[in-house]
Subunit: 195 residues, 2 copies
């Protein structure tokens, strides 16, 4: 393999990049400005050093604790439980939630050998037991594993007497009944709201 | 912007990668083995140094002249004219053509200010005038610019008394008349072959 083929091979191992896209990207890099390539190379090589996981929430951050966990103005009574660090950025992007986060680090998936012991439930319990949290919002994905994990979390926290909620599941805004799958439709029925 | 956002931004500038894919790729790199990231970073940073253009054909190569141009077993009577260096790999991939190549470096595109003077026609003429070439196969893309460039090449070479051919244009194998666009269909009629 020549260097161009090696680079193509490496790109094709990244998620969502097929063989042809990888070749196109490698050629793009070769045909374009060398400095831009060096910037990208530097960013990739430094990412593991520069981005750490926050010791409080488990999200990605340059400084520990992260800007969210060290923000005194946020609402200490709310704690949002997410699967992965990147979920925090997604929720932050719509500027509505003002509480704190807790990253589980995955979902309960018995078929893949991931039990509750592999996830950060002890840390979650400790945070809730500290007494300041009044509501835990479970924001795991609306998948079988995400639902299982949500249910587990709810049962774990229910003896503590706080409110435990789950993100609403139903029809996507702008969607059409005709194109909704049956499961989503049945869920939007069960979860129907009054005006 | 934090390093993760910077990396996402850089990836989203590559061809065929949108914002969400770029974020997924950046997170993938962060979550996976650091050594793999360092390999990718090295490959990107070295690509401009390690891959050059062959001084004979204009294709990508580590050594000049490239393995194709220095292959004494190839057919000196055939010369295939392509738009870009990467077209050589595509044609080589089906192991049928055994002649040499000539990269034009683009196509004639008056609207973008690219006239024949910006392309490597002098080198092409010189190769053909050397006397060994018996057929020039024009393999520019079947686009308006590719066709214009093919016509220009054909007119340039016709006084030299060699055969000048063009890749067949028509229905793709496995395709369906129903899904063919009118232009392709009309071309496949004009270019119809006898059994």
């Amino acid at each position: 393999m020549n260097p161009l083929e090696e680079l193509t091979e490496s790109f094709s191992r990244l998620p969502g990049i097929g063989k042809k896209s990888a070749a196109r990207i490698a050629q793009h890099i070769l045909q374009n400005d060398r400095n831009q390539a060096l910037v990208l190379a530097r960013q990739i090589s430094e990412i593991h050093e520069r981005i750490k996981k926050c010791s409080v929430c488990g999200g990605y951050t340059e400084n520990d604790p992260c800007p969210i966990c060290s923000d005194a103005l946020r609402d200490k009574s709310l704690l949002c439980v997410v699967e992965q660090p990147q979920d925090i950025q997604i929720i932050e992007s719509f500027h509505e939630y003002t509480g704190f986060y807790h990253v589980l680090g995955g979902v309960i998936a018995p078929l893949e050998g991931i039990g509750p012991d592999k996830l950060s439930f002890p840390g979650l319990l400790k945070k809730v037991q500290s007494g300041e949290v009044k509501e835990v919002i479970i924001a795991t994905n609306p998948t079988v594993e995400g639902d299982t994990t949500a249910l587990y979390t709810q049962r774990l926290l229910s003896p503590l007497g706080i409110r435990v909620s789950r993100l609403a599941s139903g029809l996507p805004v702008g969607g059409d009944l005709e194109y909704a799958d049956k499961l989503t439709l049945s869920r939007s029925f069960r979860g129907r709201t009054t005006f």
